[in-house]
């Protein structure tokens, strides 16, 4: 069996300044635990609340929408990956999971729509959507991406990699400017 090169992983995590990462089945329990790790590791930051809130939306999206679903004793979970990185002036929170090819384009379109809006337009869009029934296929309020965009300090980065005929891998990255400089 090929052994896992942990040192290589270590160096990569160090070079990319990865503060937290999780790959696996994300259940509500994992959401809660990882959420409190975010709060602990960023406790000195003023925008921890924002990062925490975006984390919850991204993680619950994986639970609900990842193609890879697992049924556990405490409810269902979705498989995905979540990484929090730090750079000089920014934090980056990324989530990745498998999505069906016909759904992934819809997510990309939604990202393009919110990326084309300024904060005031996003606020109006959010207020309009929150009182409307969620779109077909939505398992939540259907306003997660709008809320994420309102809290992000840059456009949402939506990357799609083809996996096979059926699925793509969707990566969403959200940017937060460090505030206590």
């Amino acid at each position: 069996m090929e052994s896992l090169n942990l040192y290589k992983q270590y160096v990569e995590y160090k070079d990319h300044r990865i503060l937290l990462s999780f790959k696996g089945a994300i259940s509500q329990e994992v959401v809660t635990e990882f959420g409190s790790m975010i709060r602990t590791s960023l406790s000195a930051e003023t925008n921890t609340k924002k990062i925490f809130a975006v984390f919850i939306e991204l993680a619950q999206n994986i639970v609900r929408y990842s193609v890879e679903q697992e049924m556990g004793p405490y409810g269902n979970s979705g498989v995905g990956i979540i990484i929090l990185r730090e750079k000089k002036d920014f934090f980056y929170l990324s989530s990745g999971n498998l999505v069906q090819k016909d759904t992934v384009q819809k997510v990309k379109n939604r990202c393009d729509i919110v990326n084309g809006m300024n904060k005031e337009e996003l606020k109006a869009f959010y207020q309009d959507k929150i009182r409307k029934p969620p779109e077909e296929g939505s398992k939540g309020a259907g306003i997660g991406l709008i809320d994420i965009a309102r809290k992000s300090d840059d456009n949402l980065k939506c990357e799609i990699a083809s996996v096979d005929d059926v699925n793509s891998f969707l990566t969403l990255t959200v940017t937060f400017k460090k505030e206590n400089q």
Binding site: Q28, V31, T32, S36, K49, K50, F52, A53, I56, E57, Q60, V63, G75, K123, Q127, I130, R131, P134, G140, A141, I143, G144, D147
Partner: protein, 123 residues
């Protein structure tokens, strides 16, 4: 009807529903796995109170809620607003921690179209 208390969990708030005093309180953090299922008993309790024309006091004391909970919060506010418009007696207090501008602004945003008495209170 007995007073109902739903204890808080790591991802759901404490809910106090006191029919006699007409009091509904939602305290803590709200990001349960399924918000609609979680808030269902609250809606049922509220609808019963509205049907019985109970004088209602509703306190939101939330530190954080996710977007699917926000939809439930808006729905509660709208039901109270409709009750008030139909001559029901109701008032809402929206508590926020003193330095929590986001929660204060959310309260302002959510109440901007409401006619029912709505008060922002810091603690």
């Amino acid at each position: 009807m007995e007073k109902i208390v739903i204890p808080k969990t790591k991802s759901s708030p404490e809910i106090i529903m006191d029919y006699k005093g007409g009091l509904l309180e939602i305290i803590g953090e709200s990001y349960p796995e399924n918000s609609l299922a979680f808030y269902k008993p609250v809606f049922e309790w509220l609808d019963k109170c509205i049907q019985d024309k109970v004088e209602l006091k509703v306190n939101f004391k939330l530190n954080y809620f996710n977007t699917s909970s926000s939809k439930c919060v808006i729905d509660l506010l709208d039901r109270l607003d409709k009750y008030f418009a139909n001559s029901g007696i109701a008032s809402i207090k929206w508590y926020y921690e003193e330095d929590d501008d986001d929660m204060m602004e959310t309260g302002e945003e959510f109440s901007s179209d409401l006619k029912v008495p709505f008060q922002l209170v810091y603690y």
